[in-house]
C-alpha cells in the first residue's frame, strides 16, 4: 500500500498549483463567468502545451500515460481556485470514451488536437427523459448509405457552446431504454444541421442545448462498436464522476481554508468569532467531511481504472455520494459561518457553494450512487 505521489505526479501538482496561484486565482473565474465563452482558448492552449490535457490518456492514444490519478491531481488543483477551462467536461467526460474506444485515426483527428489544446470536445448524452441512465437515448442515427444521419435533441451538453466537436450518443438499434443499440458519433459543432444554443449554468459555467436535424456523418465518425455505446458512456460517466470528486476535494479544502481564515479575522462581541466553541466544533465537522471527501476521491481516482467494473463502480459511487452529502455540509456551513457576506455574490464562498452543487448533481447524484452502490455484488459479499 502506497499513496505517496511519484516524482512525476509531485511535479505535476506543483506546476498546476503555481499556475492557479499566479495565472488563475478565483478572480479570473469571476471575471470570465460574465463572458460569452466563460474560459479562454489561449489558456487552454497553454494547458495543452504544459502537457496537462493528455496527462492520463494512454500513450497509444497520444497521451502521457500517467494514469487517471494524474488527471485527478490536476483537477484537484484546478478546483481549488475554480479554474473555468473545460478540463472535466472536455478532457475527462468527452475525452475518455474517445481515448478508450476510438481508432488510431480517430485519436489522431479528434484527440490529438484536444491534447494540444487546439480544440475542445463535448459529450452530448443527456436528454430530457434520461436523468442518470446512459441507455435512455431517443436521438436516432439511421443509415444513409455508408453514412449515418442523426436526429434528436440533447440537453446540458457541458461546455458544448465552445466545443469544436461533439461526441453524440444516438440509437442505432434497440428500443427506448435498451442498453444494446446505443452508438457514439463525433459531430462537428459547425456542421449543417447542428443547432447549438448556449445556456448558463448555476456555477457560472456554460452548456449547450443541441438540436440535431438530420446531421450526416460518415462511418469514420462512429466511435466504438455499433450499438455498444452504453458501456463506453458508463465508463466515461464514472471517470467524470471520479474527476468531479477530485475537483470537489480541491474545492472543499479551499472552502474550509477560507472559512478558517474568516473565523480568525472576523470579530464580533470583541473577539474573533473563531474563538466561539460552537463555531469551532462546526469547523471541525467540516474538516472531518473534507478529509473523508479527499480520501474517498483518491480511492475513486485509483479504482476508476480497475479492470473490474464492479470495483470501479463501488469506489466511484462511494466517492460521489460522499462528495454530495459530506461536501454539501461543508459548503453550507462555509456559507453559514461567513454570515451575511456569504450570501452575497461579491464574496467568493458563494462561487464554491454553487460549483459544489453542480458537481454533486452531475454524473449521478447522491441517491443514484447510493442505489448503485447497494446494487453491486460487493454489497452482498460474505453475507
Amino acid at each position: 500500500m502506497d499513496f505517496e505521489l511519484s516524482a512525476d505526479e509531485k511535479l505535476l501538482v506543483e506546476t498546476v498549483q503555481s499556475f492557479t496561484k499566479k495565472d488563475s486565482p478565483v478572480e479570473r473565474f469571476r471575471r470570465l463567468r460574465g463572458t460569452e465563452l466563460g474560459w479562454e482558448r489561449a489558456t487552454w492552449k497553454q494547458m495543452g502545451e504544459l502537457g496537462w490535457l493528455g496527462v492520463s490518456f494512454p500513450e497509444s492514444a497520444g497521451g502521457a500515460g500517467l494514469g487517471f490519478v494524474a488527471a485527478g491531481l490536476v483537477l484537484e488543483q484546478l478546483g481549488a481556485t475554480l479554474v473555468p477551462e473545460p478540463f472535466l467536461s472536455s478532457v475527462v467526460l468527452a475525452g475518455t470514451p474517445l481515448a478508450a474506444a476510438g481508432t488510431p485515426e480517430q485519436h489522431e483527428r479528434f484527440l490529438a488536437p484536444l491534447i494540444a489544446g487546439d480544440t475542445a470536445l463535448a459529450l452530448a448524452h443527456v436528454e430530457a427523459q434520461s436523468r442518470h441512465d446512459s441507455a435512455s437515448v431517443s436521438t436516432r442515427a439511421t443509415r444513409a448509405g455508408a453514412a449515418w444521419r442523426l436526429t434528436g435533441r440533447k440537453r446540458w451538453v457541458l461546455d458544448g457552446h465552445g466545443a469544436d466537436h461533439l461526441l453524440v450518443s444516438a440509437r442505432t438499434g434497440g428500443s427506448e431504454r435498451e442498453r444494446d443499440g446505443v452508438s457514439l458519433f463525433v459531430v462537428d459543432a459547425a456542421q449543417p444541421g447542428v443547432r447549438l444554443e448556449r445556456v448558463d449554468c448555476m456555477d457560472g459555467h456554460k452548456a449547450a442545448l443541441v438540436e440535431l436535424d438530420g446531421v450526416e456523418v460518415d462511418a469514420t465518425r462512429l466511435v466504438g462498436p455499433e450499438g455498444g455505446g452504453a458501456a463506453i458512456l458508463d465508463l466515461a460517466l464514472d471517470h467524470a464522476a471520479a474527476g468531479a470528486c477530485a475537483e470537489g476535494a480541491g474545492l472543499l479544502a479551499r472552502a474550509l481554508d477560507m472559512t478558517r481564515e474568516y473565523l480568525m479575522q472576523r470579530k464580533q462581541f470583541g473577539a474573533a468569532i473563531g474563538s466561539f466553541q460552537a463555531l469551532q466544533h462546526r469547523a471541525v465537522d467540516m474538516f472531518v467531511e473534507v478529509e473523508l471527501c479527499k480520501s474517498a476521491a483518491l480511492l475513486a481516482m485509483i479504482k476508476v481504472s480497475d479492470p473490474s467494473g464492479a470495483e470501479r463502480m463501488r469506489a466511484v459511487s462511494a466517492a460521489k455520494a460522499q462528495l454530495a452529502r459530506g461536501g454539501a455540509f461543508v459548503v453550507r456551513q462555509a456559507t453559514q459561518l461567513h454570515g451575511g457576506i456569504g450570501v452575497t455574490d461579491e464574496h467568493d464562498i458563494g462561487l464554491y457553494f454553487k460549483r459544489h452543487q453542480v458537481l454533486a448533481a452531475l454524473f449521478g447524484d447522491f441517491e443514484h450512487h447510493v442505489a448503485r452502490y447497494a446494487s453491486l455484488p460487493s454489497f452482498d459479499a460474505h453475507v
Binding site: 441512465d133 452548456a207 453559514q336 454553487k354
Partner: protein, 391 residues
C-alpha cells in the same frame, strides 16, 4: 384543531375573494410559482389595502381588520395556497407595529396610513459591516444639529430592497460615551434626502435584493426620532422578537414542497412521473412531516395568542427550525430537477416556468439561517433565556 362553522365560512369567503381579486397576470405567475417583481408585490398590496386586508394584525383604529387570531391564520393559509405575492414585511410587519407601539400621534398619522396603503415603501437599516450578530456595536453616527435634528454619517448594509424604498428605519448612535446598548436611537429617514446613496448588489441567488446604503451628512428632523433619545435598542429588541415568529416561513416551505411535488409530477423519466418514485416520496415526506410538526407549533402559538397569552417557549423554535426546513425544501426541489437544476436565468422555455427560479432561490435561501438574528445567535438566546444555562 377543529374550526367553528364561522371560521369555515370565513375561509370560504377569503378563498373566493382572492380568486376574484387576483389579477390574471399575477395568477399566471402564481400558477407556475414564478418569481414576483417588486411592482407585482406592490400591486397586490394595493388590492389588499383597497379591501382593507393589508394589515389584519394591526389594531382596528389603524386599519386592522379586528379578526381573531384564527381568522388571521386562515387568511394567511389561503394566501399561501393561492400563491399570492408575499407583501414586503418592512412596513407592515416591522416598522408599522413598532410605530403603533412606540411612536407619537403625529408620527402614527404621518406614516401608518401610507404604509397600509402601499404608498410608501420601507427598508430596514440595522446591520453594518462591523455590526452583524453583534448588532449593538453599530457605529452610524447621528449628531445633534443646531435645530435639534440629527445629522447622519455612516453606512448600513443588508438594507434589503433599499433601491425601492421611500423610507428607512434605522438605529443610530446618538451617544458614543455610554455602554454600547445605551447610546442608540431609533430614527426614520427619508431615502430621498440629499446625502443618501444606495448601491444594490447581488445575492448569491443572482437577484439584487441587498443594498449597501451610505449616509453623508444626511439631515433627519427631530420629529423623526421615535420614542426617547438613546432608547432605540429597547424598541429594536421588541421588534426583533416580533420578527422571529415572522420568519418561520411555514407558508414558504409548504408552497415550496407543493412546487417540488408539481415539478416531480411533470418530470417524466422515461415516461413515468418522478413523483411516483417511492424514494422521492419518502424524502419529501420526511421534510413534510417536520414541517407539519412545526406548523402545529405555529397553531399552538396562534391559539395561545388568541387567548391573550404571551408566546410560550415553543415559539422560540420557529425561526430556528423554520429556516432549516425552508432550506431543506429547496434542496429537494433541486434534487427533483436533476440536470435542469443547473439552469441559471436562461430564457423562458429552457426549463419549465415552475423551475425557472428554483436555483436562484436555492442559493438565496441560505440567507434565511443568517438574517433576522443568525441561528447561532438564536441558540445563544434560547440557551440563556429559555434553558437558563449559565453565561
Amino acid at each position: 384543531m377543529s374550526y367553528s362553522p364561522e371560521h369555515v365560512a370565513f375561509r370560504e369567503e377569503v378563498r373566493e375573494w382572492i380568486q376574484a381579486a387576483m389579477p390574471e397576470h399575477l395568477r399566471a405567475k402564481a400558477e407556475v410559482d414564478a418569481a414576483f417583481a417588486h411592482a407585482d408585490v406592490m400591486e397586490w398590496h394595493r388590492i389588499l389595502a383597497a379591501k382593507g386586508w393589508a394589515a389584519p394584525h394591526w389594531p382596528v383604529e389603524h386599519g386592522g381588520t379586528g379578526w381573531d387570531t384564527t381568522r388571521r391564520f386562515i387568511f394567511n393559509e389561503e394566501l399561501e395556497l393561492a400563491g399570492a405575492p408575499p407583501l414586503s414585511p418592512f412596513g407592515l410587519n416591522m416598522v408599522g407595529p413598532l410605530l403603533i407601539q412606540f411612536a407619537n400621534d403625529w408620527q402614527k398619522q404621518r406614516f401608518l396610513p401610507k404604509i397600509l396603503a402601499g404608498e410608501e415603501v420601507w427598508c430596514q437599516g440595522y446591520s453594518e459591516p462591523n455590526a452583524g450578530s453583534d448588532l449593538a456595536s453599530l457605529q452610524l453616527r447621528a449628531d445633534t444639529a443646531a435645530d435639534g435634528g440629527f445629522v447622519l454619517n455612516g453606512q448600513k448594509t443588508w438594507t434589503t430592497y433599499a433601491q425601492y424604498a421611500h423610507w428607512i428605519f434605522l438605529l443610530a448612535r446618538t451617544d458614543p460615551n455610554v455602554k454600547k446598548q445605551q447610546g442608540i436611537s431609533f430614527l426614520l429617514c427619508d431615502m430621498r434626502t440629499p446625502g443618501v446613496t444606495v448601491k444594490p448588489f447581488l445575492t448569491t441567488g443572482g437577484t439584487p435584493a441587498f443594498c449597501e446604503t451610505w449616509f453623508e451628512n444626511v439631515s433627519v428632523p427631530r420629529e423623526n426620532l421615535v420614542g426617547e433619545l438613546n432608547q432605540g435598542w429597547t424598541y429594536a429588541k421588541a421588534l426583533l422578537g416580533h420578527e422571529r415568529t415572522l420568519v418561520s416561513g411555514v407558508g414558504i416551505s409548504a408552497r415550496t414542497l407543493l412546487r417540488t411535488k408539481r415539478i416531480a409530477r411533470d418530470k417524466l423519466v422515461d415516461g413515468r412521473p418522478l413523483l411516483e418514485d417511492p424514494t422521492f416520496r419518502a424524502k419529501i415526506a420526511r421534510v413534510e412531516i417536520e414541517l407539519e410538526a412545526l406548523r402545529m407549533v405555529v397553531y399552538r402559538t396562534v391559539a395561545a395568542a388568541q387567548l391573550g397569552h404571551a408566546p410560550g417557549a415553543e415559539s422560540s423554535i420557529l425561526k430556528l427550525r423554520g429556516t432549516e426546513i425552508q432550506q431543506a425544501c429547496f434542496d429537494l426541489a433541486m434534487e427533483v430537477m436533476g440536470h435542469d437544476s443547473l439552469s441559471w436565468f436562461n430564457r423562458d422555455g429552457v426549463v419549465s416556468a415552475r423551475e425557472q427560479s428554483v436555483a436562484s432561490s436555492f442559493n438565496y435561501i441560505r440567507a434565511a439561517t443568517i438574517y433576522a438574528g443568525s441561528n447561532e445567535i438564536q441558540k445563544n438566546i434560547i440557551a440563556k433565556y429559555i434553558l437558563g444555562l449559565p453565561g
